[in-house]
């Protein structure tokens, strides 16, 4: 979808459905995630609070990347830990790739985090600012 970016930001499509891949708290949760970013390349921070279910590993699969024909479709998708602002991210060269956002950093179960995302390169002209994928955490 082609959209025009505004100075203040963009629209986030919050995922409301979430499937937990197992009944044990120690197992990773998996949820569809989607949103929009700024075509200017600045980072968008999302308000949804999640709790790590598998604190040793946070990964994402990017199904649809934001970007433009000239600037490409590379994205960074990250998390920030609410308590201390610790920041982790994965770099996606295109859609249909896995990325590891953090691994074995030392977090414990039920650590709070939020997500953020950005296009790696600012887009000149028309760009698609929507992205979607799956978060495993």
């Amino acid at each position: 979808m082609r959209t025009r970016i505004f100075r203040a930001g963009a629209v986030l499509l919050l995922s409301t459905s979430l499937a937990v891949s197992g009944s044990l708290a120690a197992q990773a949760a998996s949820t569809p995630v989607s949103g929009t970013v700024n075509c200017s390349g600045t980072r968008a921070y999302y308000q949804t609070v999640r709790y790590m279910q598998q604190p040793s590993l946070t990964q994402a699969f990017l199904s649809q990347a934001a970007g433009g024909v000239h600037s490409g479709y590379q994205m960074r998708i990250g998390i920030n830990v609410v308590a201390n602002g610790a920041f982790h991210e994965a770099w996606f060269q295109s859609a249909n790739r896995w990325g590891t956002i953090q691994q074995n950093v030392g977090y414990v179960s039920n650590t709070r985090f939020k997500m953020n995302a950005m296009m790696v390169s600012p887009s000149s002209g028309t760009c698609s600012n929507s992205w979607s994928g799956t978060l495993h955490y």
């Binding site: 930001g9 986030l12 937990v20 709790y51 308590a83 201390n84 955490y137």
Partner: protein, 165 residues
């Protein structure tokens, strides 16, 4: 900066006002149902939202909360409500720490602290922004354990999710 007490009712009213105000900021045409849409604003507005929310919250006597959220990216765009959520989390942390400090020493103070800690469940931020599957059940479970006299959930929550005091 130090934030002090008012009432939870004022906080909830403030949250409603912020939410109402945010409705005028939608920056993009609808791509899905209105309930899934949110708008964004800049760093200064996010900080203002954080501070305004804190000003409407009752804090424990002597408690001190950071004047800004932990994320500080002046060039970023923040979903409207981001600062409010961080303020509510900071407020909840303060009451969790207060409950752990006073339980066993002052029953009335402990009861009040736990009541305030548990009142996160009544906030718009919790209802709107805490993930249904991974976050809300955890918070509710911690509170239920605490109300039964088990502090272990609050201890773990404070240790993992709150700034050191």
């Amino acid at each position: 900066m130090h934030f002090r007490r008012h009432g939870l009712r004022a906080t909830l009213s403030l949250a409603a006002l912020l939410l109402t105000a945010s409705c005028g900021r939608a920056a993009e045409p609808a791509q899905s149902s209105p309930s899934e849409m949110e708008s964004f604003f800049g760093y200064a507005d996010m900080i203002e939202e954080y501070r305004t929310t804190l000003e409407g919250l009752e804090l424990p006597e002597g408690a001190s909360i950071e004047a800004t959220p932990s994320v500080s990216d002046p060039s970023g765009s923040y979903q409207v409500g981001y600062g409010e959520v961080d303020a509510v989390i900071a407020w909840n942390c303060a009451w969790g720490q207060e409950w752990l400090a006073v339980r066993g020493t002052s029953e009335p103070e402990a009861a009040h602290a736990l009541e305030m800690y548990a009142s996160i469940l009544e906030t718009a931020a919790f209802e709107r922004a805490f993930d249904d599957q991974s976050a809300k059940p955890v918070v509710r479970g911690i509170i239920e354990k605490a109300q039964l006299g088990d502090p272990s959930g609050v201890q773990q929550d404070v240790a993992a999710n709150c700034p050191a005091t």
